[in-house]
Amino acid sequence: MRALFLDVLRELEAEVRALREEQDEADRPEESSARITLLGQFSLFVDEEFSRQVPLIATADVDALIDASWPVRSAFVRVLNKRGLEYDELSSEVWIPPDSTFLVLWESEVLRCEYLSPLYCLLSKAVKAPEKNRRLILQGIQIFGDELRKLINHHGGDILFFTSER
């Protein structure tokens, strides 16, 4: 999945560069550098270490914050659609915990893509969508242990929901 996403970004980079050339030729102000922040399940998918340890399943919608012009945004959506994925227009509603850390997936002069680190992605899911993510959080606790447990409790989540017998 990381390879698929790198492919998405490679294609998007080419589109952004093409847009910049067009703007140059038309003497229009240059497109500023585009920034994409992956959230949700796909931010776990692209983390090599985490996805190696935890088999992941996702619906086909990608949560991401897009800080870019409308043409670049449309290009991103189009590039996702080509691969059977869609952009979740409600991505801005995803809760990003305070002090979240992000990891860089792609960086160039025209495009930067980061993703929410697995620890904080799991925290977000544990606090805001515990029922949907119980199995995943349990697996996350096995990896991150007390660090994740403390964060969940600190941010109003219920650790017992995940750890008690059902």
């Binding site: 996702a58 619906t59 086909a60 869609e86 949907k132 199995r135």
Partner: protein, 154 residues
């Protein structure tokens, strides 16, 4: 449930583009017991998120549909009728479940809910029918296509 059964269920949804799971082999042609799907959804709620869409688009895949919980059956019917609101189910919002039924899938034999044709039969006078038949033949379209075009122009 066994890992094999779980992967069989998820594999079907992956094959139809409803789920993404790189480690699971796509299974486009399996028959699935509704009870196995419900069990898989207990382990992975994302299965539940797309199950109504799969039931609507691929009904022949699912056996023992009489085992569907009543609440879930009602949700499926509301989605089938493209109703904008309905009850959430086991932490999955109706909106999300409906969304997947309205999405165009990679299996081109399916149509998103809201685009499925509605069957009606109308009695036409012989003269009206003859006119419809002659015009559709002249334009090289089906009678249905011609009717739809005429209605769009209203």
């Amino acid at each position: 449930m066994t890992k094999q059964k779980f992967e069989r269920v998820v594999g079907f949804f992956v094959a139809k583009g409803l789920l993404v799971a790189p480690q699971i082999t796509p299974r486009p042609s399996v028959k699935l017991d509704v009870r196995d799907v419900l069990a898989a959804a207990d382990e992975e709620p994302r299965v539940m998120e797309v199950f109504p869409a799969a039931l609507i688009h691929f009904p022949r895949t699912f056996q023992h549909q009489e085992r569907l919980p009543e609440a879930l059956g009602e949700i499926v019917e509301r989605i089938r009728k493209n109703l904008p609101t309905g009850r959430d189910y086991k932490g999955i919002s109706y909106k999300k479940m409906r969304h997947w039924a309205t999405k165009e899938l990679r299996d081109r034999r399916t149509k998103p809910v809201g685009e499925k044709k509605v069957m009606r039969s109308y009695r036409l006078s012989p003269a009206a029918y003859e006119k419809l038949r002659a015009h559709s033949e002249k334009q090289g379209v089906t009678e249905t296509a011609l009717l739809e075009e005429l209605i769009r122009g209203i």
